[in-house]
Amino acid sequence: MSLLRQSLLPLLLTLSLAAPIGAVGADLAWPGPTASLTTNPVAAPVEDPGVTGTAAAAPADHVVAGLARDDSPACMRCHRIVNLAYRDQDTAAVVDLRIAADDYARSVHAGLACGDCHARGYRHYPHRVSSADEDLDCTGCHREQAGRETGGKVRDLDSIAAEFRQSVHLEVAGPGFSCDACHDVHRFQPLPRDVGIDTAVRTHNGVCLQCHQDQTLDQPPGHDWLPRPERHRQAVRCIDCHAAPGDPQRQYPSHQVLPAAASARDCVTCHRRSSTLLNQLYTYRSQQALRASGWLNQALYNDAYIVGMTRSPTLDRISLIIIALLLAGIAAHASGRYHAYRRQRQA
């Protein structure tokens, strides 16, 4: 999306040559957002996680109207076409310009007409290069709408923006990296609360993997220390290790993505939370050691020992207190004996 904005340019708005021609015709009969909603209730796994607070129920009527309002039907005459795209001159990447009406109608932004965000200079066709330089201000709009709205439907993004400003993404990719680099605003939808953990994890990680595609390799770069990377990728969210711990009360994760060096590498943090997880980690490490050094060494240098495995601060304290009480009792007993001995010698 940011590509779209930065370099829309020689508006060679063409149907992508790579796409099957047949699809074009098939897609022409756009049913309109309302119709699509009735035939496609919110169900499919969402592409893009948002806040997990509000379950995505069917949007209210006024929300559906976005694509039917103002100039939107005119925009959609072209932008509904499945293979509407162009090849960017600088990067040679194919940039998708299609707006999937169904997805849009299910998204949180379904109530917005195209012109609500894309305000200037789109009357001309082909659109002007400069039209794409519009400065879409997610946080500004959200702040404004959140102030006006009372239902809590529109969320103020300022705290997210504050985290994002410290994110390694911004540091490395520069100001071109913004909300839409990860979140496709035309599909953005809250992750329903009742989805299974695996779906939630897959959806969340899908966002990261859009760009970090090399992380799906058998040996994902930077993760050579991590056992079974593909299993970890299916079971935990990337941001569980790669983002600053957020406010646990909040329903969305921290947007302060950390640099690799600052990301969590402590296996025990997660694995001590459940004994089965712990067991997996321990056995894995033992097997590694065994393979590397044979059983005698494994027995003597049992490196698999998990520091902190059995450490519960409460139990630790109680057990030390009992030892301290025992020592105190012994000291009292000994001094009683000593006094008895002194008395006796004096007598």
Binding site: S275, T276, N279, A299, L327, I330
Partner: protein, 203 residues
């Protein structure tokens, strides 16, 4: 003055090896459990030392449970169930009261019986009750790749770790009490002297 030879050489050697191994295991075990910077033994050296001492402790324990029942020392571990409760009570009463009022020792050491009921019970408890749990759980760590992943629905290693932690903590309590109780002989040093020389001396 009455002298009895109650602690044969093999028993003393076993006992002091045992005591030394315990001290090493406690020091390194505490360092593993509370691993981190500070006054503890560095993790990387604590691991092999702890594991080596644990394996030696296993051998020393096996030796004791094989040799002791076949030796003349076995009679001292025979429990007199009928008189045990009364004897225990007299012993406890002495330590909680009589010892402060210069009452006579309720138990007389003899060639046929050197251990009073409380000693008998605590040595049985430590050697036959706790040490097998300690040793088995220790080996559970070492042999973890061959253990089932879960036991009774919980991760096996977690059970092993809890058993090891609990039994070692109880044995630490035993050692603390043991160290103090040996000072309650005829004089504070007479029991230690006996365990070092083999000779029990009555004033």
């Amino acid at each position: 003055m009455n002298q009895l030879y109650l602690y044969p050489l093999w028993l003393r050697l076993w006992h002091w090896l045992n005591a030394a191994l315990f001290l090493v295991l406690i020091a390194t075990g505490v360092s593993l459990h509370y691993a981190g910077p500070g006054w503890l033994i560095p993790f990387s050296s604590a691991v092999p030392v702890h594991n080596t001492a644990g394996i030696l402790l296993t051998l020393s324990w096996l030796l004791f449970v094989i040799v002791n029942p076949r030796s003349s020392n076995a009679r001292h571990y025979r429990l007199q169930l009928r008189t045990l409760p009364g004897e225990l009570w007299r012993q406890l009463h002495y330590y909680l009261h009589g010892i402060f009022t210069d009452a006579p020792h309720p138990f007389n050491v003899s060639a046929r019986r050197k251990l009073n009921a409380l000693q008998q019970l605590s040595y049985w408890g430590a050697l036959v009750g706790l040490m097998p749990i300690l040793i088995l759980s220790g080996w559970g760590f070492l042999l973890s790749p061959w253990l089932p992943a879960t036991l009774f629905g919980v991760g096996t290693i977690w059970l092993v770790a809890i058993a090891h932690l609990a039994s070692s903590w109880l044995l630490v309590l035993f050692v603390i009490v043991h160290l103090y109780m040996i000072t309650t002989g005829a004089t504070p040093w007479s029991n230690l002297h006996a365990m070092l020389t083999g000779w029990h001396t009555e004033p």
